[in-house]
Amino acid sequence: MIPAPFDYAAPMTLAEAFALLEEHGDEAKILAGGHSLIPMMKLRFASPEFLIDINNIPGLSYIKESDGYLRIGAMTREADLDHSGLIRSRYPIFTDASKLIADPQVRNMGTIGGNLAHGDAANDHPAVMLAMRAEVVISSSEGQRVVPIDEFFFGFYMTAVQPNEILTEIRIPVPPAHTGNAYHKLERKVGDYATAGVAVQLTVDGKGFCTHAGIGLTNVNPTPMRATRSEEALVGEKMTEEAIARAAQMAAEDCNPSDDLRGDEEYKRAMVGVLTKRMIHKALERARS
């Protein structure tokens, strides 16, 4: 399968990339890791007239903590997250997610920015970002704007990134002490999209009460979904089995999965319940260690 014809440029600076975006408007697509875009172009689901390859622009790949944020450059590969000592020791939720994303070769190319900007509710990072209350930095020739993750996903393949803009950084507030997080997805085989996936981040106080909760769901709603009612049910509560079961039940009730080859609606709701419970337990374990 060969994509429809298109023209291509690989600018060396963001300024050149912005100029190309201004020139070509919504006929242009940004090429990051390419492992969602190129397959869609081969299947002719997408036929952009112009590709702007941002792989040669330096300075878009980094993982660092500064000014109270974990900052991840948009072109950071899944494999970089997988291998990062900082991520492994302080943000295990990313290691949970990145090792379940596609396979090693795809992770060598796929980027965290692309995973979000693609706007697919089946991707894994959106749920993780919802749980961690991330902010997304979107840049254009006019400067930068910072969009909270809750205002980022508009609809199927639609995000806050406008045709003249490029997603350049993801910012995650450095979690307070006694915070734990975890992600898991149920997948039929390596490389498949999630049947259901759940990301959880929790902060607990010295007496075992929950002070902050973030819960994001993968592939059980037309857009990446925050399990708001479950979060509210946990905050202020002592983390008992009953409280956890109630929050998990609410996530199962509130999601909107559709029947497909990966399972019917009832099954997916049940799996959201099971995974939410397990991820709350895992996040708690990490918060206490």
Binding site: M1, I2, D7, Y8, H35, N55, A102, M109, V190, G191
Partner: protein, 167 residues
């Protein structure tokens, strides 16, 4: 619309004129006639087209040839030297790591990066490490052994037995 690109493949510089939509695997197989790299699923699932680009294993059906401009590529044809087979090739030969052979070039190129990253992987690490490469014949056991053999050889250790396993 066509553009000129230069890639180094298996140590040799090649210049080619390609359309931006030309896939890297087509440049390798059809322009350069290096047909050791296979096309399997053509959807980035099976791993038969795996090659190394700047030392990283990637699926060449899902990269544009033009993205490889200026890069160093190694394909299965670049593994053996005048000294003989690469340890990973020897491992597959000694351990019956293939039946039909279709997945083998991609499997070996993936194993080369796996062993470069992790010279002494556990069996579980090997199985996760080749999770992006599908084999429909072997049941994977002898592929895992082939990679263990190559790892041992590259570490300079005594080589594991290559008696085939009948179960």
């Amino acid at each position: 619309m066509k553009k000129e690109i230069t890639v180094t493949i298996n140590g040799e510089k090649h210049t080619a004129t390609v359309e931006p939509r030309t896939l890297l695997v087509h440049l390798i197989r059809e322009h350069l006639r290096l047909t050791g790299t296979h096309i399997g699923c053509d959807t980035s699932n099976c791993g038969a087209c795996t090659i190394l680009v700047n030392g990283k294993s990637i699926k060449s059906c899902t990269m544009l040839a033009i993205q490889a401009d200026g890069k160093e590529i190694i394909t299965v044809e670049g593994l053996a030297t005048t000294e003989g087979l690469h340890p990973i090739q020897e491992g597959f030969k000694e351990n019956h790591g293939l039946h039909c052979g279709y997945c083998t070039p991609g499997m070996m190129m993936r194993a080369v990066e796996l062993l470069a990253d992790n010279p002494n992987p556990t069996e579980e690490e090997i199985r996760w490490g080749i999770s992006g490469n599908l084999c429909r014949c072997t049941g994977y056991n002898n592929i895992v052994k082939a990679i263990q053999y190559a790892g041992a050889k590259m570490r300079g250790e005594t080589l594991p037995s290559t008696e085939p396993e009948f179960v």
